[in-house]
């Protein structure tokens, strides 16, 4: 917890004078940063000449924000006592349980709730952009949580497995020879209808396989070194996708990926389509709703598997590995296999999510699998509290939902002018949110750990005792 100790010692004994001095320092720091960044800006004028525009008002605002922000932070002593008290309220597993049950119930009724609230046309956006998008990231967060949160292996290239899953599905399902072969063997309608259900497990298995491939070279690495190599692995996969044009079609991506069917019934306007068979009026909404429940099911499968694995020896070995690798080896635990299973299972769930993503988008390109995605997924895990399933879900809702909400804030244009686009401030807000969470809840939103087995009473373990792992 860097900084926390300093805050405790400096603020409790601080008077107003000292607080002002401290805030003054923050203001000076802001001034030092703002002058080179904000004060001067080069622009081209109408005669196409470079001119220097001075923006001292911006500098003044930045310094004022830093000064008063620090002052307010220092003057509210209650805030610093808060983290302890708040983590105490989370100690009863009852609250977490209640949140989980209510959340799940809300998710199950969500598509119909949206239909009811905003109507057919508008609900498409809410189910697709919010519901499905968030659930994909919940699933990715839970998958990465196995690697980072449980096994303590810092993986900055998780998006690679997402990409492997997506491309595995796309290349298999949209593959002409396979389609032709299946048409000859079973019938022309078989492959387009069932490709998703056959390729989904295949994509997961291929991803898990790539997880093991990555796992082998990095077994001996720990901490920062592991992070760098996994990051490089993510980039290698992306570079291969971009440059192996014969197979992946490069930047242009793969289109015409078969969409999932309702267990063999397509979502189209034909007589054998979903709407006709169930006697409903045709609308693309049904597919979206189905996709929503599909990703919900996949995410819940991830969660179920993780919770189950935590209670099995392999899951306990992951957590023990995060706590102390040397002690693990002294107890006869094969740490090589333990790490590889963590990589493989985490990657497998990433692959499932990738296959779903490809099927939902109908089109994929390397653009979707940049390092930024890895960073967002990792941020979700860290913000949520490493190892905490419910924390990761909350963080995914906040981060991905928050981004999407920014698109909805058109009224801000009335405040800041028509050229103001709130989505542009996404990363700024992310950064700020990260800093705030790390100040107030340095171990993530839910930092307590629940033991996987107990004799008399399930007591939560304070996050301060739980190690973060060194890879």
């Amino acid at each position: 917890m860097p900084g926390a100790g300093l805050d405790h010692s400096s603020t409790q004994s601080l008077g107003i004078g000292a607080a002002i001095i401290d805030a003054g320092k923050a203001g000076l720091l802001a001034l030092g940063l703002a002058v080179p960044i904000l004060a001067l800006r080069t622009e081209t004028n109408l005669e196409n000449q470079l001119i220097l525009r001075e923006r001292w008002d911006y500098v003044a605002i930045a310094v004022a924000v830093a000064f008063f922000g620090r002052l307010v932070y220092l003057m509210i002593p209650a805030r610093r006592a808060a983290p302890k008290a708040r983590s105490l309220t989370f100690n009863g597993s009852g609250i977490a349980r209640a949140v989980a049950i209510i959340g799940l119930a809300l998710l199950i009724v969500y598509p119909f709730l949206m239909l009811l609230l905003v109507g057919k046309a508008a609900s498409l956006k809410w189910i697709d952009n919010f519901g499905i998008q968030i659930l994909i990231y919940v699933m990715l967060g839970w998958g990465l949580n196995i690697v980072v949160g449980l096994a303590g292996l810092l993986d900055l290239g998780y998006v690679a497995f997402y990409a492997v899953g997506a491309y595995s599905y796309a290349l298999l399902a949209a593959n002409e020879p396979i389609k032709q072969f299946m048409a000859d063997m079973i019938g022309p309608s078989f492959w387009p209808l069932w490709a998703f259900w056959i390729c989904l497990p295949v994509a997961g298995i291929l991803s898990a396989f790539w997880g093991i491939i990555l796992g082998f070279p990095v077994l001996r690495l720990r901490g920062d070194y592991l992070a760098i190599v996994t990051l490089a692995f993510g980039e290698i996969i992306r570079m291969v996708l971009i440059n192996w044009i014969d197979v992946t079609n490069g930047y242009a991506g793969i289109s015409g990926i078969p969409r999932p069917s309702f267990f063999g019934i397509p979502f189209n306007a034909s007589d054998s389509g979903f709407s006709a068979i169930f006697g409903l009026e045709f609308t693309p909404l049904y597919r979206t709703i189905f996709l929503f429940y599909l990703i919900l099911g996949l995410a819940l499968l991830t969660n179920w598997a993780t919770l189950r694995l935590r209670r099995l020896p392999v899951g306990r070995a992951w957590e023990a590995l995060r706590e102390d690798e040397i002690a693990c080896r002294s107890l006869g635990i094969n740490t090589t296999n333990t790490k590889l299973t963590a990589f493989a299972i985490g990657a497998g769930f990433g692959g499932f999510a990738g296959a779903f993503f490809a099927a939902r988008q109908n089109f994929i390109s390397p653009e979707s699998f940049t390092f930024m995605e890895s960073a967002i997924i990792l941020a979700i895990v860290v913000l949520g509290g490493m190892g905490s399933q419910i924390g990761v879900a909350i963080a995914a809702v906040a981060m991905i939902g928050g981004t999407e909400i920014l698109r909805e804030l058109d009224w801000l244009k009335h405040v800041f002018g028509a050229s103001f686009d709130p989505v542009q401030y996404r990363m700024l807000i992310f950064g700020l949110a990260m800093v705030l969470v790390m100040i107030w809840r340095p171990r993530g939103l839910i930092s307590t750990r629940y033991p996987s087995i107990y004799l008399k009473e399930r007591k939560s373990v304070s996050g301060d005792l739980v190690k973060e792992g060194h890879g």
Partner: protein, 304 residues
């Protein structure tokens, strides 16, 4: 108490050599630890005691030498010869399985040869509960019971029965170290002395034939030291576990050990029962450089 069979050597270290670059940490060390004995390795700081431990438990690969463990009965010289020449790690001899530890990776030494160890600076899983620490120690048994996770995923009853047995074993050891009512507390929340005993209990949960303790009494007060002595004595008498320990606290060493090996600068300078070692002029000289053995041995306990 000890029958002839129990007094056979369990662990035989022969011509062990460990070099780190130009530094010779252990030089041609040979000693043996007998079955059922408590064998102590003592010596001044930097004598190479922990290095010997790390070689035995596989955390270091010795530069040369042989570390033989005969888990059940004593192997004949010809068996040992056959195994050494074969290039294999272990083999079934007439008297039981024998292992060449210097050829095995650390986790196999723990899981197959059944050598457990503790650490000088306690290495518990601090964020896991006391009970979880003891369950993790039974990883390999539970892993088999869970069908390498596959059966366990589908909730096989055999796994839950194995887990219940594992909890029973953990409960037994918690009772032995007096931590039964703290089973659900995080290991990192325990006081230092309890953590030391928990680490021993965790090692015992692997059901070892040889328990290697690296300074188990370090940082304990005299009362905790006495409890530790009693615990180690009872492990010796009630379980089929022999003990090898490094210790600076002479009250522990002299009271409980059957056999003492003294190291200085990586070389063995004395080897024998405590009463012999205590009076060995070389040992006294190594520790304090004076002749008065009473002062010497009392002094070691205070300022090692």
């Amino acid at each position: 108490m000890a029958t002839q069979r129990e007094r056979e050597p369990l662990l035989e270290v022969e011509h062990l050599m460990m070099q780190f670059g130009g530094l010779v940490a252990i030089n041609d060390l040979s000693f043996s630890a007998r079955r059922g004995d408590i064998t102590a390795i003592i010596g001044p700081n930097g004598a190479g005691k922990t290095t010997v431990f790390n070689c035995i438990t596989g955390f270091y690969k010795p530069s040369s030498g042989r570390i033989l463990l005969s888990s059940e009965g004593s192997a004949t010289p010809s068996d040992i010869d056959v195994l050494t020449r074969s290039g294999r790690r272990s083999m079934a001899a007439a008297a039981g399985r024998i292992y060449l530890l210097e050829r095995m990776p650390d986790f196999e030494i723990a899981s197959q040869a059944k050598v457990a160890r503790t650490f000088q600076n306690i290495r518990l899983f601090t964020g896991m509960t006391v009970l979880e620490n003891l369950i993790v120690a039974q990883h390999n048994t539970l892993m088999r019971a869970s069908g390498w996770t596959v059966l366990g995923m589908f909730g096989a009853g055999s796994y839950y029965r194995a887990e219940a047995r594992a909890v029973d074993l953990a409960r037994y050891w918690l009772d032995r170290i007096g931590l039964l009512d703290r089973a659900d507390v995080a290991a990192g929340d325990l006081p230092y002395g309890d953590q030391r005993r928990l680490e021993i209990a965790r090692a015992m949960c692997t059901e070892p034939v040889l328990l290697c303790l690296d300074e188990p009494a370090a940082g304990l007060n005299p009362r905790e030291s006495a409890t530790l002595n009693a615990l180690l004595k009872s492990i010796q008498s009630e379980h089929k576990t022999s003990i090898l320990l490094i210790e600076h606290d002479m009250s522990v060493v002299m009271e409980i050990s059957d056999h003492v090996v003294v190291l200085e600068y990586g070389t063995k300078i004395s080897d024998g029962p405590p009463s012999y070692v205590r009076n060995d002029p070389k040992v006294v000289a190594a520790y304090l450089g004076v002749e008065d053995d009473e002062v010497a041995l009392a002094g070691v306990g205070i300022a090692p």
